[in-house]
Symmetry: C2
Subunit: 334 residues, 2 copies
């Protein structure tokens, strides 16, 4: 059997180049004792992937040249020498950018069946994406009724869930996004209180209009100029949940700023987080998120790109802000 | 009676220029109903003063051109039409850069007498400086025994108290300072565990040597390149108390950076604070600090410059790192 795999050939400098990732074929070996064979179905594309390719260790080990590109996957067990897994089980794992992965079972989690949720939901709202929104907002900022919450990358996979959890908690929610289409979706479908198209509007002036009582909570996905504008409207003793800084991910080193002076003058509490730290509390998130989806309080959108061969071009959509909801590559049929 | 007063003539651009502050004389008026006349004895010079002169409101109203330069003072009541104050009372107030101030009594606090502490101590370790160190370290970072604490501007008024409170709490304390003389004082007199002279040593390399288990707490007074170096050694889930950013105070606008990416990857909690917010809890600090001074666990150094006429040149010492301990101008005899 042939396995197609995306191989990291060079560390990207700035934007990911076509030569950085190359699709190759290899022969699939037989599984050994205690091993399982997973046929990958869905591949998750996330802003954090760019950091993994940088050649520098961060919260995970650095990838090396020649590695299979790292990525979260949903797959189905096709062979098993491990009593914990049966053929036909659907599983979540770091299966990588390839058709098949062989695993000892470590870090592989079964996906519950017959839940009523589509399989791809376990890669978005009922997966890491939903957990990120849930703990990043609730655990880090503890939003209170009547507070003003501003979300950047608000139409993105995480941002759109954050907006809706904010509404459930009684916040006034303002979303910053990069197109009128996304802004309309946020406003008309997700019913948030106000939107700003950062590509066509003056973010600072619009924040002043939309946040007359200042900003109590900022859910940070982007960094850069948008954040500078938000900081000028933050209230005394406000909070920032630092989830991502996508505006700087294609830079060759960490980007300075935004200025810490705002954090000092406004006595802001800022907390960075990585969702892996919340793995043990996952069920808290999924119980609430599942209930809210069933009640119609949370809507989500998956942007599914067909074909493993399109993974390398698809990931660029994230940095151009061209994805609509959670970006997923479909590698094979369910 | 003649009152000498330093007047803000222009907002400094970059470093404070000799023409920004001018010493003028005016006639002292009689006090009115409920008013008190304070003869100022000590004037506090602090990094935060630079921000007050910027023409931009921050956590206090912006100063205007023509205002008496704002400053914290210790003085003695010479006349009183206010039953709350008696002639001869020593008081703390925002008396400004002048020989005499007239006040309604609002914001004026009596200094306890016969405590055994010298009067100038109530402007440093038993005043705002001590409170800043106390709450900034204990309330914001909750240091635990065995943790590694790094302090920038460690030989400064606040930093030197932070170092010693860190030792009292059982931390391994590393101080960053700008001269061998200051480093020797920190090491030999205050008994901290290690020092770095940032002007002559490679801060990043020295931090690696001195903090083999990484950094759990960073008490931030400076910003800029020193902080970039510290961030590379911070541990996962470490804490930063954001007290000041003196390296950027003479810049025309808030200085970008340090990079937020470190805060994200390391899941750092950063909290800015302004000591005015802790006014109601002042006694907590003074009870502990007073006890520790008597027990010999906290030493402090006041750098007293004689003569109101020298205030404008003295404040520049702060930004050049030339003060030795808390910088105070003596305006008149006790």
């Amino acid at each position: 059997m042939i396995n197609k795999q995306w191989i990291l050939k060079s560390f990207p400098r700035g934007d990911i180049a076509d030569t950085d990732l190359v699709l190759e074929e290899s022969n699939l070996r037989e599984i050994g004792e205690q091993e399982i064979l997973i046929r990958n179905i869905y591949l998750s594309l996330d802003p954090a992937n760019r950091g993994w390719m940088s050649g520098q260790a961060s919260y995970v080990d650095a990838m090396k040249i020649g590695d299979i590109m790292r990525g979260g996957t949903i797959g189905i067990i096709e062979k098993s020498n491990n009593e914990k897994f049966q053929v036909g089980d659907y599983v979540n794992s770091m299966g990588g950018w390839q058709n098949y992965s062989i695993s000892s079972g470590k870090g592989v989690q079964k996906i519950p069946q017959n839940t009523g949720f589509e399989l791809s939901a376990f890669m978005s709202v009922m997966g890491m994406t939903g957990m990120t929104a849930y703990f990043g907002l609730l655990d880090i900022t503890d939003p209170q009724e009547g507070e003003t919450l501003v979300v950047s990358a608000a139409a993105g996979a995480v941002g759109s869930i954050v907006c809706q959890i904010g509404k459930i908690k009684g916040c006034r929610v303002i979303g910053i996004s990069g197109s009128d289409e996304k802004c309309n979706w946020l406003k008309n479908e997700l019913n948030i209180d106000g939107t700003i198209n950062y590509k066509t509007e003056d973010v600072r002036a619009r924040l002043k209009e939309l946040c007359p009582d200042g900003i109590d909570i900022y859910f940070e996905n982007v960094g850069g100029k948008i954040t500078e504008a938000v900081l000028t409207r933050m209230n005394i003793k406000s909070r920032i949940s630092l989830c991502g800084l996508i505006s700087g991910y294609n830079s060759e080193s960490l980007v300075p700023g935004p200025a810490w002076g705002h954090l000092l003058i406004k006595r802001i509490k800022l907390q960075g987080f990585i969702i892996f730290d919340y793995q043990k509390r996952a069920m808290e998130a999924f119980q609430d998120l599942g209930k809210w989806i069933v009640e119609g309080k949370i809507k989500y959108k998956n942007d599914i790109v067909p074909g493993l061969e399109n993974a390398s071009s698809a990931i660029k959509k994230l940095f151009a802000g061209e994805n609509h909801g959670k970006l997923i590559v479909q590698i094979s049929e369910e």
